[in-house]
Structures are given as structure tokens and as C-alpha cells.
Symmetry: C2
Subunit: 479 residues, 2 copies
């Protein structure tokens, strides 16, 4: 029998929906977007569509082929997981940015909310997962209060092998492993995910004899979740990575539609582009499910780093970019919605809802005599959270705040693959509309170079001199 | 011997600092604020100062007295904690918004990063803490896979007792407890934090015989962390709540200074007010410590809900408010800093740094032959994270993005009390400058009423009719 994700009917039943009614002037009023505006953009849209097709064909967007060209890699990953999972109680990712946000988002979406606190048996025999994506000394030291080194596998993820945060973590762990377990035994405790040929980590992995997986040369960090960067940690927690990729492939088909009003990625990009043009510089992502909370973090990197750019493709200074804001429904109704309703009309709010949660939770029929409680008795938390989502959409519509809603029929690998891929394509398309390079990040160099200079790294003398000569701080401006 | 927080020298050594050099034109250039602008605002500043003093005197800001008037409450809380802590392995907060964000922030700041995964002995004999601040049915059901009901104490926190999310959780838990443990035994498993007289929960607590603590009538949700709302969960995890309040009292003194340039709360508010006036509608809070990450979530509610307002005090439509964005250093350098450096100059970025982390983590002296790794060998993660923070401040300064830095000498109860209180006073002051009411939240009513109407709650027929008559969605706008 075929797997569920190979069945047409099941696929269709799991198709995500993008509802952008509340973005349109006919619903939200003057702050919205009109069909005429979209029509006026037609030439630019066609240019963007053409660029997307060309870039894909010319190898400028290798991440778009990931749903199709990884059958062998999936086999390799799954075989590796099977071969090691009994041996290890804990799997620790050492990675930052794109090497951490995707693995966290997928694991949180699919697995038990308290996965690490379950017994190994209840985890299906898979190890716990910890993602160390900071260099706070307290955090890494504390990790060793709760894990056993000899039962832990470390996954070092960095394409260049020169990411200071990740590589310094690796250096610490390597020494610790060799001291405690000896050089030979240590090898089994490290698996690297890095470039096939270039960078520092590849020769280290080869020399030390670490198992390794490849990050394709043409795929950048924030677009790498569907490479072994994300696939290995996911599979290591028992997540079906074949289905994840199938969901992405399914969304790829939807994103090929050349009718703009039928193409969710193009429409998402167009609406946000037009919103940005009129000063809406904030993109709120607000899932109504704890499982999807970290999709917001992943999206925040993708949208911010891809579209936040100083120069356009003709080297004009444009300083564009929309700032992503992460919220969680219903929780943040009690934190952010006052501002969203009454504050400036400077936002596009993207709700992410779920049709069917994995469980149903009944509210008992008590306190019928108390009006503000009685109406809840006999209902479910499922109905309450979905109703609150609809009510919040309605309240924001009434206040004139543009919003849209993405709905997943369920949260599973297939729908997750869809939403990840949808946001990636939408980001690429928005980059074309903005006429910027969505795939580089020149703005992080200044901070890196200043760090190197402060550490006295050879070759950074000029930056060091610049830093030494910066104006001293004014004590009057320190309280 | 006196406690450390009673000693003048120690207090001074633990004083937090606000460095706003990078907000000023003399440093950040044309996007910054000049001293002349601050001088021009003098009349408005004096009016705000006067209003703050008057409101405090007239009982309009009861939260300002919390550091001083709770000696008996602290005793009661600590005695209660001592009396129950051996009996319970788990303490579960049922609360949302201000009833959840403060407890989470304080616990994460002070305790071990993996507190819940430590043995009870390593937790100092205190129970684990879970904060249930959502109505996602999967999350609450899953909690019971990892806790034992008969060893769990539930803290229901809601002032009005009509918060649907919290009260429906309570209804579920109450039935579960009574079914499993019987009515008599159940009583010991619930502790309520609510109003002294009003609302639904007070009569329920009295009737059922639950232990309860009081939320003072004049203190609103987002200003309630230093009431039993925050103090009980903190004490239940072994946190020194006396020191927390002492830190707040210490900051209160600093915030009384009528020299604007010596008053951190006034200056924080003034700089942000002037930034807002020139269109900087985003307030980024970016701690460089995992322990302080959730201070950002707490701040996000405080700043958003207090200042996001449609009307000013004269009922003019103003639609003001700055949108808080939560980031974490160094992690989000790899996610958000590209945008902050190169994107629009629409932000004030507030770094929160720490002088002394609780531990030191050495990077071994290896890979000396690899230039991009060699400079790290022999250094510490402490130096790396602090250097990256300085480098990021410098990079943003160079790019013209306004930023400031709050530095805590250490993260402890005393410094935490200071920063919480600082932000609260700054928020109140910013409200005065904006001439709005920082202490209400009328904008959340629409969504609540729509929820009640959709549930068919009696008395909401008119809203129900309004909802039934809203325009049907256009299928063309759903992909």
C-alpha cells in the first residue's frame, strides 16, 4: 500500500489555505489593498515571475529542488538514525540562525510538547533533542547538569565552519569528549553537517573521522531547513522526513500557478509588497497553536534577513524591509492585541490556524449559574481557541488592521512541508518585487569584523584602529 | 548580619546602568535625538512629572507602592511555600497575559536554565514550575503525560475570575482533581490569586475552601508581577522575593530624581517618545543572556498594551503605540541584525547586557593554525558574547540605527527587581508624554464580545446579529 502522502485524496484533504479577504479594501476599508492596485502592478509581477523561473533554471535557487533530489540523502539519514538511536539518549545540535531555527520549529510542531520530559520509550526510542544556538556560558554549562556525555551525540551544523558561535561550542565539546571518553570513542559522538568541499569543518570532519552530511553549495542558511541541516535532527526525533519533503513538493506545484489569484506564494508576496509600499513596516505572524509557535521564529529570520536590505539590484540606497513580529494566539490576545486593534495601522497580521487539533479537551458543565463562566460549560477548548481566533480576526478587521489567515487542516509533516516551502517561495518573490537580492546578508559583516578586530584576529588591524579611534562615550549619557 | 540587599555597598555595586549614547545625534547622527529636542520638550516633561507624582499620591498607580507595603504578604507567601513544598513535585500556574509573563520571566532569569529537568534535590526541594497560558487543547492534555496529579498544586491567577482561558482551565482541572482525588483532598491542590472582594473567583475560592492570595484592586494585570501574582510562583521555586522587592524599591529611588538626565525611567520614556514622534514605531528588546529572554516577553506586553491606544486623554483619535519586538543576542544576530543594520531606520533597539555571568566557559586552545578559529582558542564564551554585543552596538551605530544599552552587573533578584520596576515607571511616564491612559485596555473588548456572541452567551444578541450580518467572504480571496 502506498504511503498516505502519495495518495491524491489525502494530499488534497491536507492542502493549506490562504485567506486574504481581510487584506482587501472591499473588506478592511481604506487601509487595505484593492484589485486595481494589483492590476497596476501587473508588469512588475510578470517580471518577478520571469525572474523566479530563470533563477530556478540557472541554479540561483537550488533550495527549490530540495523536495525532489534527496531520495538517497533521506535513505542515508534514516539509516544513520536507525544505527545510532539506541546508543544515544540525547542529540544536541550545535548551530545558530538557519541551522537552529528550522530544527526547533519542525521538532516543536510534530512532537509531543514535552518531548524531552518523556521516557525514551514514550519518545518511540528516539533521543532527546537540545538545540544550543547561543554562546551564553551559563546555558551550555548547565546542559551538562542534565545530560550524560557518554550517551550524547553532537551535531555540528555550519556550512562555512567559521561561525564563531558554533565552532567555539564544537571546540569545547571536542575537548570535553576526548578528555572523558578518549579520542577513539569520541569520534562516534560527533556528526557534522557542512559543505561538501569548502570551509573549515569539512577537513576537520575528514581528519577526525566524523560522520558527516552535506549542505548543498547553492543553498543558504535560512533556506536550508529541507537539507540535512533540518532533516537529520528531525529524523533523529522520529519525524517522517519523506512526508515533510512531499509536502514541500505539493506546495511547489501550487506555487507554479501563473494565475496570481491562484498562487499562494505570489499573492502573499504581492500583498505584503503593496502593504510595505504604503508604510506597513511590520509583519506579525500569530499561530493559534503552541505547536506552531516556533514556525514564527523561523519565519522571522527568513523574512527579515532576506528582505531587509540597504541596496536594490541597481545599487540604489533603498533601506527596505519589514520587521517580523512573533505572537502566539490565544495567549498574546492578552499582550499584543490591544496595540494591534488601537495602535497605528502599520502592520500585516498573519494568523496561522489549525482545523483539527490532535486531541479534544472538554470543559465540564459546571458553574452554570455564573454568566461569565456558564457559557463555557459543556464546550471544548478546541472550540474556544478557534472562536477566539475568528473573533480576533473580526476585531482587527473592524479596526482597519490588515490581516490574513493561513489554515492547516492538521499539523503534520505534510502540512508543515507546505508552509515552510510557501514562505520560502513567497520570500523569494517579494525580493523580486522589491528588486533586491533576497539571498545575501552583507549587513552582518560589520558586526563580525568588529568582533574579530576586538579579539585581535590577524588581518583586522585597520578595523581595530577604527574601533580604537571611535569617539569616547559621554558620561552624561549614562545613568 | 544584615541581608546583602540591605547593605548600601552591595546595592550600589548592583545598580543597573542605562547607556543612551547611541540614541543621541552626536553619536548616531541625523536619526538620533538632540539635547535641544529634549530641552524643547521641557514643559511637557514637567507636566508628565507632575502627573506621575499626583497619580501616585491619589491612588492612580498603586503598583508603585508594592515594594514597600507587602512585608506581611511576603511572610504569608513564604510560610505557605514552606508548608506545601515537600508535598508537591509540581506547581502549575493557570494564568494568561500579566498572570503568566511575569512568573515566566522571573523564574527563567533566576533559576537553572533546565530547572524542570533537575532532580527535586537539585531544585533545592522546590517543585517544578509549568505555566499554562494558552488554551491549545494539545498542550494541557500533554501536561498530564509528564506530571502526577496527586503531587501537583495548581495556582489559578485571575483578578476578575472571568478570564475565559484561565477559568475554563480551572474548570477542567477542578473536575479532574475531584474525580481522581475526591472533593476533600482536592482542596489542598488549588491556590487562588484573585481580587479581595470582587469577581467570580473570590466566592468560588471561599466556598470551596481554597487557600488564596490577593491581587490589590488598584493594580492592573501587566503591572502585577510584584504582587502575589508573581511573588507566589517565584517563592515556590526558591526565589528570594524580599530581594526582588528591595531591587524595585532601590529603582524607585532612582526614578524619583527630578534631573531628567539622572532619571533612567524618564529618560527611557523621553527618548522613545521622541523616536516615536519621528516615526520609529518599533521597540526592539534584545537581551544578551538566555536568562533574560523572557523579560522581553514581559516587556512586550507592558509596552504594547499600555501605549497602544486609539484615543488620547481628550478623546482625540491618535492611534499611537510602538510595537515591541523580542530578540535574543547573540542568537538573533544570525536572524534579525541584517534587517536592523540595512533596513529602515524605524527602530529603537534596547540591548540588555550582563557584566558578570554566573559561570565562566573556557574555549580550548586548539586549531591555532586555522585563522577563523585560532583567535578563539584560549578565550572564553563570556568574552565572546560580550564582544559580540559591543560589536553589534557599534555596527548599528554606524548604520544609523538608534540603540541603547541597559547593563545589569549580575542577574539576581535585586537587579531583576530594578529592571522590572524601571520599565514599569518608564511606561507610565511615556503614557503621560503621549497624553494617553497607559492603564486601560479598551481595545481587547471587541474580540471578547465577538467570542461571547459566537458562543451564544446571553446578553450578546446584538453582537451576534452584527456577526451574522457581516459580509460573506469572497472565495476569490481564498487560495
Amino acid at each position: 500500500m502506498s504511503k498516505r502522502f502519495e495518495q491524491k485524496d489525502w494530499q488534497e484533504s491536507m492542502r493549506l489555505k490562504l485567506d486574504f479577504n481581510n487584506m482587501m479594501t472591499s473588506y478592511v476599508g481604506e487601509n487595505g489593498i484593492s484589485e486595481a492596485e494589483i492590476a497596476d502592478l501587473q508588469a512588475q509581477i510578470e517580471k518577478a515571475e520571469k525572474a523566479m523561473v530563470e533563477k530556478r533554471a540557472n541554479g540561483g535557487m537550488d533550495w527549490r529542488d530540495l523536495p525532489y533530489n534527496q531520495a538517497d540523502i533521506v535513505k542515508d539519514i534514516n539509516a544513520y538514525v536507525e544505527s545510532v538511536k539506541d546508543e544515544f539518549d540525547t542529540f544536541v545540535v550545535l548551530g545558530i540562525g538557519g541551522s537552529a531555527l528550522g530544527p526547533i520549529a519542525v521538532q516543536q510542531a510534530i512532537n509531543h510538547p514535552y518531548y524531552n520530559e518523556l521516557s525514551k520509550e514514550k519518545r518511540g526510542g528516539y533521543p532527546k533533542l537540545y538545540v544550543m544556538d547561543n554562546i551564553d556560558p551559563e546555558k551550555l554549562v548547565s546542559l551538562f547538569d542534565i545530560i550524560e556525555l557518554d550517551k550524547t551525540l553532537f551535531n555540528v551544523i555550519t556550512k562555512s565552519g567559521s561561525t564563531s558561535e558554533t565552532m567555539s561550542q564544537f571546540m569545547i565539546i571536542k575537548e570535553m569528549l576526548e578528555e572523558k571518553l578518549g579520542k577513539e570513542e569520541s569520534k562516534k559522538h560527533v556528526v557534522c553537517t557542512t559543505d561538501a568541499k569548502n570551509g573549515n569543518l569539512r577537513p576537520i570532519a575528514d581528519k577526525e573521522g566524523y560522520k558527516s552530511f552535506i549542505i548543498p553549495a547553492g543553498v543558504g542558511g535560512r533556506f536550508s531547513e529541507l537539507t540535512p541541516v533540518g532533516l537529520l535532527p528531525a529524523a533523529m526525533c522520529g519525524i517522517d522526513i519523506e512526508e515533510l519533503l512531499a509536502g514541500a513538493a505539493y506546495m511547489d506545484e501550487l506555487c507554479k500557478n501563473d494565475n496570481t489569484f491562484k498562487n499562494p506564494a505570489s499573492m502573499y508576496a504581492i500583498l505584503n509588497y503593496l502593504a510595505m509600499k504604503r508604510g506597513k513596516n511590520i509583519s506579525v505572524i500569530m499561530p493559534y497553536a503552541d505547536t506552531l509557535k516556533y514556525i514564527g521564529d523561523w519565519y522571522a529570520q527568513l523574512w527579515a534577513e532576506s528582505l531587509g536590505k540597504k541596496f536594490d539590484n541597481d545599487k540604489n540606497v533603498v533601506n527596505v524591509g519589514q520587521t517580523p513580529v512573533r505572537a502566539l494566539g490565544a495567549t498574546d490576545q492578552h499582550s499584543q492585541v490591544q496595540l494591534y486593534s488601537e495602535g497605528p495601522k502599520d502592520k500585516v497580521i498573519v494568523f496561522v490556524g489549525v482545523d483539527k487539533y490532535k486531541t479534544t479537551l472538554d470543559i465540564p458543565k459546571i458553574y452554570g449559574d455564573i454568566p461569565s463562566l456558564g457559557f463555557l460549560g459543556g464546550e471544548t477548548h478546541n472550540k474556544l481557541i478557534k472562536t477566539e481566533q475568528m473573533a480576533t480576526e473580526y476585531a482587527l478587521l473592524k479596526s482597519g488592521q490588515t490581516n490574513m489567515t493561513i489554515t492547516l487542516p492538521e499539523v503534520n509533516e505534510f502540512t508543515l512541508g507546505q508552509i515552510l516551502y510557501l514562505f520560502e517561495v513567497a520570500t523569494g518573490f517579494a525580493g523580486e518585487l522589491l528588486d533586491i537580492n533576497a539571498f545575501d546578508q552583507p549587513g552582518v559583516e560589520e558586526g563580525k569584523n568588529a568582533t574579530y578586530a576586538m579579539f585581535g584576529r590577524p588581518g583586522y588591524d585597520e578595523k581595530k584602529a577604527e574601533l580604537d579611534n571611535r569617539p569616547a562615550k559621554n558620561d552624561k549619557y549614562i545613568i
